[in-house]
Symmetry: C2
Subunit: 226 residues, 2 copies
DNA sequence: GCAAGAATGTCCAATATTTTACAATTTTAT
DNA sequence: ATAAAATTGTAAAATATTGGACATTCTTGC
């Protein structure tokens, strides 16, 4: 677990050799999305894998009242939609572009063809999926074990890593509060605590972690298990 | 998400053809564990994949004080240890046998050999891993969105599915409370509510879901998203 | 079969979190 | 540039959850 804190989630694309990466790129269709545009609807059944080529996307669920509950954000090189292929499930989340974003959409047949031909793909996919699972387990652990401020720090840090690098996180505090499973006021209090010790900066609709290294060290120290 | 409620997690072993299953069986060593015996220690680095052949195991973390925090239970055909292989991580959980249990321990080299030869293995592994990820996301969602009683029902039901079929869940209420992220008293209250409507029965060190179908229906009705 | 240990069930005070309400700030639209 | 809308910040009362204490039930070892 400590090792996980050391690095961002390696992206699916990064784990591939140049040749395979090119094949994957050619196998799909590049689609552009404007800021805020819907990419996939929860419930869609058309199977296929999507890869973020530029920009970033927000994964979550729209409530009946239009409110958006964010689960995570994904950055360049990250994939989504795998389980429409392998687990034969409808899409369970709504996905929207956070900024102008390019997505490589690969159809199920095209992906399967490549998958069978290039064993590296399955390894890369398993690696990213398993690491994601692992991060999820850690987030759950944080949600039950840690006090608010520590929980907030850990989840923020983990989300940043999954998203893949950038130190700025575009979201409303009310969304993040929901992601953490607390009220906006509790989050506000927790953030104030983290701002006081200089780990976090907040702005209108965004949260920044100005010093990733210090954040990592703090999380490792205050949020480790047992 | 609704579809997921319909079936247990298909086990890794079940997803394989007879031939591949035999190969896997022969590739490993069958090891027997007595009830309560430790199978893997958190922090172990020796990579390899383990498959439950008979019995069942408990996955969790031992605290410094000896307390055990359960994350999940795994039944026959389920695997663990995958990410020692694919994500190159140390084991992050302690694993103990709940009952007398047989485990097929497959070393990293042996598993890799098979993995490269039989593409079915990677598909089966991705399927179970992705479904597990998915269940985790749902559990997290339940933990933040639902009131105690509903949350308890949903997580109990999900855990049962992951474990793979049996209607009896061997664990102390204090452990389950921790899994749910609440105190034992809150869990006790929630369980009382579920017992009153006949969805749950409790005993000394065990929890039963006597009517899986009714439970499924109740969870689908009261715990669905948006 | 009995006693010791372990787990469950329930009460009440202490604590943490949420709810409600409103002010301050930032963005967006006109 | 200004008004309207959206987001953030803060404080109070209301609510839910926890922690401790103890009786009760069940299991295990002798």
């Amino acid at each position: 677990m400590l090792d996980l804190l050391a690095a961002n989630t390696p992206s699916f694309i990064d784990s591939l050799s140049d040749g395979v990466r090119d094949q994957i790129t050619r196998a799909g269709t590049l689609v552009r999305y404007a800021e805020g545009q819907l990419i996939h609807n929860r419930g869609d059944v058309k199977p296929g894998v999507s890869i973020v080529v530029s920009g970033s996307v927000q994964v979550g669920i729209y409530g009946a009242d239009g409110s958006f509950v964010m689960t995570t954000q994904l950055g360049v090189g990250q994939t989504f939609g795998e389980f429409t292929l392998f687990a034969d499930l409808p899409r369970t989340h709504d996905i929207t572009a956070i900024s102008p974003t390019e997505i490589n959409q690969i159809s199920a047949p095209a992906f399967n063809r490549l998958y069978d031909a290039e064993p590296d793909i399955s390894r890369a996919l398993l690696t990213t999926t398993l690491i994601r699972t692992h991060r999820l387990l850690e987030m759950m652990d944080a949600m039950r074990r840690l006090p608010m401020r520590e929980r907030t720090a850990k989840v923020l840090f983990t989300l940043m890593q999954i998203a893949g690098g950038s130190d700025t996180f575009e979201c409303r505090q009310s969304d993040l509060a929901f992601t953490l499973g607390v009220s906006r006021m509790s989050l506000s209090t927790a953030l104030r605590g983290l701002i006081e010790i200089g780990l976090v900066e907040t702005g209108y609709g965004q949260i920044r972690l100005p010093d990733a290294d210090r954040m990592r060290a703090w999380v490792a120290k205050h949020c480790s298990a047992s």
